[in-house]
Symmetry: C2
Subunit: 369 residues, 2 copies
């Protein structure tokens, strides 16, 4: 075993059944996630089994365990990182990943977002104020109608126009046509307003199509993409970031992991893993919207996304899931200005989306001063 | 809306909070998973919103709701199918997908396993008996030592030698070298025994590397692969199946979905979605092993994998997670002979794996008669 300080150190909160011992459960995890053999059957010269650094009873009857894994068992892919953190043990119970220390060897390999908060600010041309984002939707509209929405939102002053996460490659708005039309629309709006709005197409697809769509996105002149990493694997974000694109991640399916006693906490999944995989912005539900999310969870995710982390650029929290345009100033006060607000329904509901967008853009402009 | 009989019909079991109405919750799902806009803001000519076909109170206070979705909102990718079934609503609570009816239009597009039970039986050269599988492990062994295990298990009579799911592309056994050595080892064993054992490498990786590894697998002469679809996306299975390869799916991370009141049931995820995506075998934990799985769950998964399904080949349940070699005959009696038994630790623990494998192979040979 290498020195623990160079190890991938994972903190688990364990909920034990009657008669189950937390320390034994921790040792079981260390084997299950690595050699996947009884300790006696592991060849003595093979030292891949996780090392339990701590296992202590918590006040609430749960246990806290810290396991160190050799970084070289991770190889090069995020799929394998997630596999080690929670692959097989997802099929057990009472195991929650609450913290992950990523050693320098892995940080150097992955590096995180291509742009980060600073890079995205400079693309959008704003130094301080919150950034505004909306979803281009609903699916079912033709590519031209979606492009018209891009144009109107961009004219109104929304910074980032992203495809809705359900807009992929349906017959009524094929990917290739949509990207060209929407990118043309945002460029036209920018030329008229002098603005620097960006269009991010949804490139979520199977492995081959995804690679092709990332290429098509770059060729079209887009500067970023939308991805659903829990449906493509986190390595898709890594590849898009390596192509120099900004990556906005959508949390579809991620909710399956957010159980109180089993899974991965939102701040670890979004604030560490998504960020390290290369996401410049992580979309997730704000408190007080359509999803049952708490302000404390949002704060924890925000803190993890923005925290200093050796060589890994900070990423934007992108708060969505029913953010009311009228409350954006209030949420800015609560969360700070290094926040992207993804406002959809409450702009669409106003009918004239350009005007609705302009009002919202006015409301955040004062934070630029 | 198209006719419900041509629709993607999803059955949800809903658990309602105090004061929450099941029918309203169903309507909310139908909007959330499609237009993602308030009903009034959906353009009247856009008919993508799901239609609630039924919403009824169950005896236990839960609700059963059936929602029909137009198949054309799915496009071509499994990522989008999973997105519609459980993407955004994963971030809510009390929503369990318990059944999915896939319309003919989508079945014709995806088609399922390249080989299925019959095709895999003919590759392995057995008409009736259970098929035997083992994992080549642990990670940390060199490619030559892994290949030596392949050789010995194949000599002993194990049909399918698959990489352990944690064996990817680590420095000590790089993918390219491992595939060549292990494939050579299984071919040598077959030449000596007259057997037809197969080696399935783990091709799990990011989108680009995955495509390359599938190609390398075919070039090496392997007939199948191991995949972790919840870490690569299900479309990776579809692509491997389209390349004519047998696909064994490993359930890493899938456990996050198996909550009693929120997620996707194991029989739907494994027995419908994994199968339809192209998996010829789906690995999952047997009851009575290291994982807390029940016999009834195993039976439901087995039934779904093997059931007749227009044009979609039946797939093998691959029971693992601590199957004791000595109990394989007992489990065969319970589950039937169209079963793959993935026996790992209990063979390794015997030291002489060739001999341990030969004993197990003897025990299932009588089912061939």
């Amino acid at each position: 075993m290498s020195e623990p300080k160079d190890a991938l150190r994972v903190t688990y909160h364990l909920t034990c059944a009657a008669g189950e011992d937390g320390a034994a459960k921790a040792r079981d995890i260390a084997l299950e996630q690595t050699a996947e053999l009884p300790a006696a059957a592991v060849p003595p010269d093979v030292r891949v089994v996780g090392e339990v650094l701590a296992a202590e009873r918590l006040a609430d009857g749960r246990w806290r365990a810290v396991i160190a894994y050799r970084p070289d068992i991770v190889g090069e892919d995020f799929a394998q990182l997630l596999n080690i953190l929670f692959g097989n043990i997802s099929l057990k119970s009472g195991i929650l990943v609450t913290d992950v220390h990523v050693p320098a060897a892995l940080l150097a390999r992955w590096r995180g977002p291509a742009l980060g908060i600073e890079g995205l600010r400079s693309l959008v041309g704003t130094a301080r104020r919150p950034i505004l984002c909306t979803s281009i939707k609903p699916m079912g509209l033709s590519a031209s109608r979606l492009a018209d929405l891009v144009y109107r939102f961009a004219r109104g002053g929304i910074d980032i126009l992203k495809d809705d996460h359900g807009v992929t490659n349906q017959d009524w708005a094929p990917f290739a046509e949509r990207v060209l039309r929407c990118q043309e629309a945002v460029a036209r709006a920018n030329a008229e307003t002098g603005g620097r709005a960006l269009y991010f197409p949804n490139v979520t697809a199977g492995p081959s199509a995804l690679r092709d769509r990332v290429d098509a996105t770059r060729r079209a002149g887009c500067r970023g993409v939308l991805l659903l990493p829990m449906l493509t694997g986190l390595d898709a974000a890594r590849e898009a970031a390596a192509a120099g694109l900004a990556v906005f991640a959508h949390p579809a399916l991620a909710g399956a992991l957010f159980r109180d006693d089993h899974g991965i906490t939102a701040e670890v999944l979004f604030g560490r893993l998504f960020r390290l995989a290369g996401c410049d912005g992580v979309i997730y539900p704000n408190a007080g919207g359509r999803f049952p999310w708490k302000v404390e969870t949002c704060r924890a995710v925000n803190d993890h996304l923005r925290a200093r982390w050796d060589g890994v650029r900070p990423a934007f929290p992108v708060l969505g899931g029913g953010v009311d345009a009228a409350r954006v100033p209030e949420w800015t006060e609560r969360y700070g200005t290094d926040t992207v607000f993804l406002v959809g329904s409450s702009l669409y509901a106003q009918g004239d989306v350009e005007r609705a967008a302009a009002q919202l853009a006015d409301a955040v402009r004062r934070y630029e001063a």
